[in-house]
């Protein structure tokens, strides 16, 4: 680096590092949405390796040190295992659309509700607090296992962990803000083979967490807005639904990428979807499923009290159907629609059960 050589040599400087850089002369410029992650995916810096050999945790595109130690405990090192095309957009969207459960929810609009309705609301809040614990811890664990060469996807997962933390908090707040309290947790959100926690593969986890699990919860959040009794609840559910839709988008786009770039894994993915579909109604992670404490709470909330349980139940059935239809369309969008044509999917049968 002749042009930057030191003129005053009082201090012995090495400066060799100045010649050890990633691509130089990089000039990313902000656009309409500011300086986004997409804006800095330029030149070499936008090239994501199909397989990551980065075990020291160095930033993608930086110059490696030959003597670096292998610190990263990364098991996700293949791009297709975690990648999706819209990661940078989803991450920026998450940053832009953050909210505060303390100050953005009009808590003052909550007014005393009939006891049966308050109990149902608190039971749902207890359940959702429990479920959101899953959706926070599991993606977090996968972040540490993923090579930072795929940092855009990791950023989206970290945003999700943050979102889920807020969901845990907002439902706890709802349970304790209107003369009620927490009720009984289901205890069935963890520990089962085929569950979200125990997945040994990221795509397996994502198909369960993002597609079937959060897809179902998204419908519930939207339904929550419908069954809200005040502006505070409407706001809570609407804002949670936005977040959840982003998480679902992650899953859909990842599966789409996987389908296109690792076709040899398609059958395996179908196996995960088989299991996920099996649990769509029976899984305790779906509040509109068959577990009685959540489905009864929903029916009470949707009907407007125990006396209108039947009416509420009918709405619940309609909503279950909608959940299943949306699940189906997401799977199609993810590129696995053939399962609904070739008889592999049990969705039609499950839809019949939904009405039962």
């Amino acid at each position: 680096m002749a042009e930057v050589a030191p003129q005053n040599q009082n201090v012995d400087m090495d400066l060799e590092w100045m010649d050890k850089t990633g691509s130089w002369d990089t000039n990313a410029e902000p656009g309409r949405n500011g300086l986004t992650l997409a804006d800095i995916q330029i030149g070499d810096y936008g090239e994501i390796p199909d397989y990551s050999r980065n075990l020291s945790g160095r930033p993608r595109g930086s110059a490696p040190r030959p003597d670096s130690m292998r610190l990263g405990n990364y098991t996700v090192r293949e791009k297709s295992e975690i990648w999706m095309d819209n990661a940078s957009f989803l991450y920026e969207e998450a940053l832009q659309r953050q909210w505060s459960s303390a100050t953005d929810v009009p808590w003052e609009t909550i007014e005393p509700l009939p006891d049966d309705v308050e109990q149902a609301q608190c039971q749902m809040a207890t359940f959702l607090t429990e479920v959101e614990f899953v959706a926070g811890d599991v993606p977090s664990r996968w972040v540490a296992k993923t090579s930072p060469d795929f940092f855009e996807a990791r950023q989206v997962l970290l945003a999700q962990v943050n979102d889920e933390s807020r969901h845990m908090d907002v439902f706890r707040k709802r349970a304790l803000a209107n003369g009620g309290g927490l009720m009984r947790s289901t205890g069935s959100t963890a520990g089962f083979v085929g569950g979200i926690d125990l997945s040994r593969d990221f795509t397996e986890m994502s198909s369960r967490l993002h597609i079937s699990g959060e897809g179902a919860v998204l419908t519930i959040f939207r339904m929550g807005e419908l069954m809200a009794y005040n502006d505070a609840e409407k706001t809570i559910y609407r804002l949670c639904a936005q977040d959840e839709a982003r998480h679902v988008a992650f899953g859909v786009m990842h599966m789409r990428y996987m389908s296109e770039h690792a076709p040899e894994r398609r059958d395996e993915i179908h196996s995960y979807l088989d299991e996920a579909e099996g649990g769509l109604l029976t899984s305790a992670a779906n509040p509109a499923g068959t577990l009685n404490q959540t489905s009864e709470s929903l029916a009470i909330l949707l009907g407007g009290g125990i006396k209108k349980f039947d009416e509420g139940w009918r709405k619940l059935v309609a909503i279950r159907r909608r959940q299943l239809m949306e699940y189906k369309k997401r799977v199609i969008s993810a590129g696995f629609g053939e399962r609904f044509e070739n008889g592999r999917s049990r969705l039609t049968e499950i839809m019949e059960q939904a009405a039962a």
Partner: protein, 148 residues
């Protein structure tokens, strides 16, 4: 409140709402930051296409049904249902009860939001940007609206 009554649905009406929405910082906080999508609005047979980029709704165009093919999703109701929703917004300053976009969607058997392409990923943008869309229509409470 704009002085001259603007007719709904019309490009002028949407532009007036757009101006209110784009210029009030309150509509870009509380979970409603940047939004990037193309949303169709179908009022009976009239079709409008709204483009959201970053903090703003950058354009409104009146189009034929053909344009809905390019929209990520579109919201469709009869004129009378839109009128009811806007009347509710006008009365309360924002949508309440059964008149929020999401509730309208759930209460209608075919939903409020749908798409030509049937891609749920793009249709999900209706949920992902729901607070922004809600604030956009809530901004119409500041417009003196004439129907028909």
């Amino acid at each position: 409140m704009s002085r001259a009554k603007l007719s709904f649905p019309s490009v002028e009406w949407f532009n007036a709402v757009r101006k209110e929405f784009n210029t009030d910082e309150e509509f870009h906080r509380r979970g409603a930051g940047h939004c990037n999508c193309v949303a169709g609005v179908k009022v009976g047979d009239d079709v409008f296409v709204l483009t959201f980029e970053g903090q703003e709704c950058t354009s409104v165009e009146q189009s034929g049904e053909l344009a809905l093919a390019d929209a990520d999703f579109y919201m469709s109701m009869d004129a009378v249902d839109w009128q009811e929703m806007l009347a509710n917004i006008s009365k309360h300053g924002h949508a309440v009860g059964d008149y929020t976009l999401n509730t309208l969607d759930l209460n209608r058997f075919d939903g409020l939001a749908t798409s030509v392409h049937g891609d749920q990923f793009r249709e999900d943008m209706f949920f992902r940007f729901n607070q922004t869309l809600q604030f956009f229509f809530d901004a119409s409470s500041r417009i003196d609206t004439r129907f028909g």
